[in-house]
């Protein structure tokens, strides 16, 4: 028995040593994503995209003569788990971390990365506050809520709505966006403002109440699951008020949940969808993805993870270094209009992605998202 334990221990030590040796030659890049939990589908898409890109880089000989190694940690779309994931990633020697989805989740991890001087490039965290803190190692490839709020308010005004109902889901993302938009609208036009509980399936009680306020537009800056259910139950109530969503409704599953008939005419303000990406290189990449996983990435948010990976590799290449400080310096001052999956990327002084993004899309009779 004792011999067996000794043998096992020896084996363990050896394998650790071996692992250490094989790690020494790679550039480690972390991915923090919700691989389980409510938004596991987003997280898994993120990881799949980064994996494909990393394989491509490695097949071409790596960066600066070194292979790239992806270390993925699951944050389960939960702030507590995110803090643990961030701690594990910072101690595993990554130079940069890609992710994550969800503003509150990013916020829980942000401080840990900053303290450890590891670069974080968020991919689906649009809350304004995240880049207002002045952290020099924090960047994001997704746009910000205030830009979106402004775009939404502009569209609502153009729409000519006189009675607007605003419904959010109390998440930092949704509430933040609802408030950004509300602040830019004429207060007398807002006839309803309240929050629903995400994760439920029956929203008829809420819809009945909103209907009572008799709006001519329902603005729901929430996620696609709830938006799909709202659309479907709205139709079953025979209530045909137009509905406008935010960028988190930009997900093909929305139409599946609502059904084409109920989704028809639904509008959302958001960055272009996966189907709107028409750059040839991006199309080729998406075809690879489709071939391997038998489906397209469900949303643009996971594609932003690919952008984050691409700029990280570019920064390592151009600065010739894997030191986070040099990479951050390159992001702030060197990176200009770098062509990536969702368009060209530059970062502004705060670490936000520069440029305008938001456009109005509408669901057509076939259930496709059409840019307006």
């Amino acid at each position: 028995m004792k011999k067996l334990i000794h043998a096992l221990l020896l084996g363990l030590v050896l394998s650790l040593l071996m692992a250490g040796i094989s790690w020494a030659d790679t550039i480690k890049i972390g991915v923090q994503a919700p691989l389980t939990g409510k938004y596991a589908s987003e997280g898994q898409d993120m990881k799949n995209i980064v994996d494909i890109l990393a394989e491509k880089v490695n097949a071409a000989g790596g960066v600066n003569g070194k292979k790239v190694e992806i270390i993925a940690e699951d944050d389960a779309f939960d702030p507590k788990t995110a803090a643990l994931a961030a701690q594990r990633l910072t101690t595993s020697g990554v130079v940069a971390v890609i992710g994550t989805y969800g503003s509150a989740i990013t916020e829980a991890a942000q401080g840990i990365y900053d303290e450890a001087e590891v670069i974080q490039i968020a991919t689906g965290s649009t809350m304004v506050r995240l880049t207002e803190k002045g952290m020099k190692n924090f960047f994001r490839t997704c746009p910000r809520d205030d830009a979106q709020g402004a775009a939404a308010a502009k569209i609502i005004k153009e729409f000519g709505s006189k009675r607007i109902a605003i419904l959010h889901d109390n998440s930092s993302y949704s509430k933040g966006l609802a408030e950004e938009t509300k602040a830019l609208l004429d207060p007398s036009t807002i006839v309803f403002y309240d929050a629903l509980t995400p994760g439920e399936q029956d929203y008829t009680a809420i819809l009945t109440k909103v209907k009572g306020s008799n709006p001519d537009l329902l603005y729901f800056p929430g996620y696609y699951n709830e938006a799909g259910l709202l659309l479907r139950q709205k139709m079953e109530m025979k209530w045909d008020v137009p509905m406008l969503g935010g960028d988190a409704t930009n997900n093909a599953d929305l139409v599946k949940i609502a059904g084409v008939e109920a989704a028809k005419g639904f509008m959302f303000v958001g960055p272009p969808g996966v189907n709107d990406l028409d750059d040839p290189a991006t199309k080729e990449f998406l075809a690879t993805y489709q071939a391997r996983f038998n489906a397209m990435p469900a949303s643009i948010w996971s594609v932003f993870a690919g952008d984050a990976f691409n700029v990280t590799i570019e920064a390592i290449k151009q600065s010739g270094s894997t030191e986070p400080a040099k990479i951050a310096e390159y992001f702030h001052n060197g990176l200009k209009d770098f062509p990536s999956l969702t368009g060209t990327i530059s970062f502004d002084a705060k670490g936000d992605r520069a440029g305008k993004f938001y456009r109005l899309s509408k669901v057509n009779e076939k259930g496709e998202f059409i840019l307006q």
């Binding site: 389980t36 939990g37 409510k38 938004y39 596991a40 589908s41 997280g43 898994q44 419904l167 109390n170 309240d194 929050a195 629903l196 509980t197 994760g199 439920e200 399936q201 029956d202 008829t204 009680a205 809420i206 009945t208 109440k209 009572g212 699951n225 799909g228 259910l229 479907r232 079953e236 109530m237 025979k238 599953d253 599946k256 949940i257 059904g259 008939e261 469900a298």
Partner: protein, 301 residues
């Protein structure tokens, strides 16, 4: 006034589902004094199994919507009942004579296991039931449009609840279940096979949860692997509200919880809807710790 009645029917329809899930909690608790935290996930499994069977066998294409749905429900009830049986064998029976906390921890573990198993088997994305199975007609009652499906759902819930009540109170096996609930040792001495009774309870409880899962899938369309948690929590609340261990209590608790939620959302605040439900629960537990109808298992000898 019209909005009030509309909200009342909204609440009753949701409450019917809460009640149906609450029955499973109550039955297991009544006999074993164990809160089966995995119950919500058995409900999720029911919803996913239902979708797979429905689409792979093409049930409703072959035999029409009504018969197809009934056959589907029967299949899911059988399969989820079997899973419940296996769950009891592997996760609860070995701990039957351990402190009760061990069984609760085991139940939580089973819940996490089921949730992740569903995610690995069916994927993390929400799945969608076909939209056109149930009729879309609405019936006009007092000037309100009440979708027919909601009435069917409420009716099915009440029917299943009545069936369970009949089983436990009017049949011989029901008498054995009640006897085991009062005192397992004494029941054994009277010649009741307590293990078999418990196994049966663990088939029926989860089976009802599975049936609720199919109903939710058919009606709301969208199912996701995390849906069991919230429904489980609500059903658990409903069971406590009505008096855990008490079958009519689960019915009353479920319907009441649905109505409180709907009216709370309508007249106080949507965002505070759940807080209001739980406030009512706390108030009732302070005033009447055994729940509305009380736990009527042991006190009627």
């Amino acid at each position: 006034m019209e909005e009030f009645f509309q909200q009342l029917t909204n609440g009753l329809a949701v409450g019917g589902i809460y009640a149906l899930i609450a029955l499973g909690y109550t039955m297991v608790y009544g006999v074993l004094k164990l809160i089966n935290f995995a119950h919500g996930d058995l409900f999720t499994i029911g919803a996913f199994l239902g979708l797979t069977l429905l689409t792979s066998l093409g049930l409703t294409d072959h035999m029409g919507a009504l018969v197809g749905v009934l056959v589907l429900a029967a299949m899911v009830i059988a399969l989820v009942g079997l899973i419940g049986f296996l769950l009891e064998r592997t996760a609860y029976r070995p701990l039957r004579n351990s402190p009760r906390l061990s069984a609760v921890v085991s139940a939580l573990g089973a819940s996490i296991f089921f949730q992740n198993a569903v995610m690995l088997i069916w994927g993390a994305r929400p799945l969608v039931y076909p939209h056109n199975i149930l009729p879309k007609t609405a019936i006009s009652i007092f000037g309100m449009d009440v979708p027919l499906v909601r009435l069917i759902m409420l009716g099915t819930s009440l029917l299943l609840m009545y069936g369970l009540y009949y089983l436990t109170h009017k049949t011989k096996i029901g008498a054995a279940i009640r006897a085991a609930a009062i005192d397992q040792g004494a029941a054994k001495l009277m010649g009741i096979d307590v293990n078999r009774v418990i196994a049966l309870v663990f088939c029926i409880g989860p089976a009802l949860g599975g049936a609720a899962g199919v109903m939710v899938g058919l009606y709301y369309g969208q199912i996701s692997f995390t849906m069991g948690w919230l429904y489980g929590l609500k059903a658990f609340t409903a069971a406590i509200l009505g008096g855990i261990g008490n079958i009519p209590g689960a019915m009353v608790g479920g319907l009441l919880l649905g109505v409180i939620e709907a009216l709370g959302a309508a007249y106080i605040s949507i965002a505070w809807k759940d807080a209001i439900s739980f406030l009512v629960l706390i108030l009732i537990l302070i005033i009447r710790p055994t729940g509305l109808l009380g736990e009527r298992v042991a006190d009627k000898v």
